[in-house]
Point group: C2
Chain length 340, copies 2
């Protein structure tokens, strides 16, 4: 059957190393992720439910795989992202998260690129989404940022937030103090002009900050409503599967403005899953895209309390993947595989 | 962020041309696909619902993308398949079907291989599934095979069936006679010792054959119950989305044995979608895996009428992808991309 090979077609293969060399947290990438929220709100995006695989062997849970995709009318390419998380990898000296993004041609369905990013692009777009939320929801002047959580996303959120607010003080809080200290050391050379302090109590972080990001794998509330104060913005990044939770439901009910990336996802996977259905129905919830598009002004009162819950969407993946492909092409990175 | 690249890892990239050079319709591949049906029936396979994207631009339907995946306990790798179908490609001189398969490591979730097969492996496993159905359901002696449909799958089914039954006569019927004649010419050199005849009426094909395969994109019945005769096996390959249909529902009700690959899929995407729910509940339907595993004997009476509806499963994709990777590795084909 050798004679039936399809007509000539090239696929660009880009490795994590190549992506890291030319795609980073910068204002261009910020704009790309911000635009993606507008796409999600304003265009008839095709974004099917996440495909999920639970990988178990002899009754033992090994890991999970999530597949996200989104087609945006008018954009030449669309991404399918395969993201895996295997906690047991850490014992093998491997990162728990892995995966890749595949870019398909919107006009022909042909494969144009495979970005072997091992989750790097997801990390970036997730951090940038937090910064986009802060741009539209945090007070105009943020002196102190608080981060609850000490993982890679905690680091990236702290860095990305500088694209939205030039803050000068960072408070870090984690369950394990030594991890919080390690993160502080890691961040010190990367956050010029920012004083970094490790704080033992989450409550103190919230009370002293104008902008707080929670980025943990928590399955019970870390933040409570009586900690909130006027002029606070709070973004919850952690919850992205049923059962995860970072905010007491009262936090959402108490906020002056409650924003999510995608309401249906937040109700299934994010913080809204923990709000009683009766209360949920009465809650005014905006999608972030209505703020990035300008349809809703976002924060208008300096003293408002705002909350944003982000679960992550396929549209962000398509946006960052297309951006990354353009950047690597411009830099001459990646390998072309000729088909046919 | 260049310093954080993940530990060393290699990904094998294999093109359609390389796959075609070393993976074909043979007894080994037949055994692999047969085994996959047994896996589906006998092991706690993780096979999520198909993720589907409809690609439309300014109200015009351009194409569809289906994403299938399946993890089989005990198998080192599992596949995620991205398959696109864009009918408008034909006008561009491109095949309508494209896509790729990604193989992930079952223990770590890391990407091990990307098979840029453009649908070639799907074509093979689909054809082999028809042959597996024939092995367990067709009469022991098949002299005449009938094929309704004239596309690539019609060709492959005719070839693959020789792995299950050494038939000597092939009847081909299509809506467009010239296409049926083109297929006959294409097949003549590939089917040694088989007399090929183009037949105008589907009814005649069914009446003269002991084994019939329908492989069309029909949306209304092509085969009716009063055409059936003792000693006939009929496999319907075509219907794989809501709305497609090749068999009058009465065909399924009249059969002595009604077999599907996955009942839930056949009810949603295959021929069972057109059987009234009340009748469907009373219909005895077996899954092909219970025949390949030996739990059910398949055809026992030479004079029985048997029907099999195949919609295609992620387990078959995992099976053929793992097989293809092993074959290409053994043949030294494909490129290794070093990550990290």
């Amino acid at each position: 059957m050798k004679e039936e090979t399809s007509p000539s077609q090239a696929v660009r293969i880009v490795t994590e190393r190549e992506l890291r060399s030319c795609v980073d947290l910068d204002t261009t990438a910020f704009g790309v992720v911000e635009q993606a929220f507008t796409w999600l709100a304003e265009t008839p995006v095709e974004m099917p439910p996440i495909q999920h695989l639970s990988i178990t062997e002899r009754g033992e849970a090994l890991g999970d795989v999530d597949i996200k995709s989104a087609f945006v009318p008018g954009i030449d390419l669309f991404a399918v992202k395969i993201a895996s998380g295997f906690a047991s990898n850490l014992a093998l000296g491997l990162p728990s998260g892995n995966g890749l993004m595949v870019l398909l041609d919107s006009r022909t369905g042909q494969c144009r690129a495979v970005l072997l990013d091992n989750g790097y692009l997801t990390d970036l777009r997730t951090a940038l989404a937090g910064a986009v939320a802060a741009k539209h929801l945090a007070p105009a002047h943020v002196e102190t940022v608080g981060v609850l959580g000490t993982g890679r996303q905690a680091e990236l959120q702290a860095r990305a937030l500088l694209l939205a607010r030039p803050y000068s003080k960072l408070l870090i809080c984690g369950r394990t103090r030594s991890r919080a200290e390690t993160l502080a050391s890691l961040l010190a050379p990367k956050l010029e002009g920012v004083a970094i302090e490790v704080v033992a109590e989450a409550r103190e972080v919230v009370e002293r900050s104008q902008c707080v990001v929670t980025t943990t794998a928590a399955r019970e509330p870390l933040v409570f409503a009586d900690w909130l104060h006027p002029g606070l913005h709070l973004t919850a990044m952690g919850s992205d599967v049923p059962g995860k939770q970072e905010l007491d439901p009262e936090v959402l009910l108490r906020a002056d403005l409650c924003v999510v990336d995608r309401r249906s996802q937040s109700e299934r996977l994010g913080e809204l899953q923990h709000v009683e259905p009766a209360l949920r129905a009465s809650l005014t919830v905006l999608e972030l895209g209505s703020l990035t598009s300008g349809r809703h002004p976002g924060r208008t009162e300096p003293g408002a309390i705002t909350v944003c819950d982000l679960t992550g969407t396929g549209v962000q993946d398509t946006a960052i993947a297309v951006h990354a492909l353009h950047k690597t092409q411009a830099a001459g990175r990646g390998s072309e595989i000729e088909l046919g």
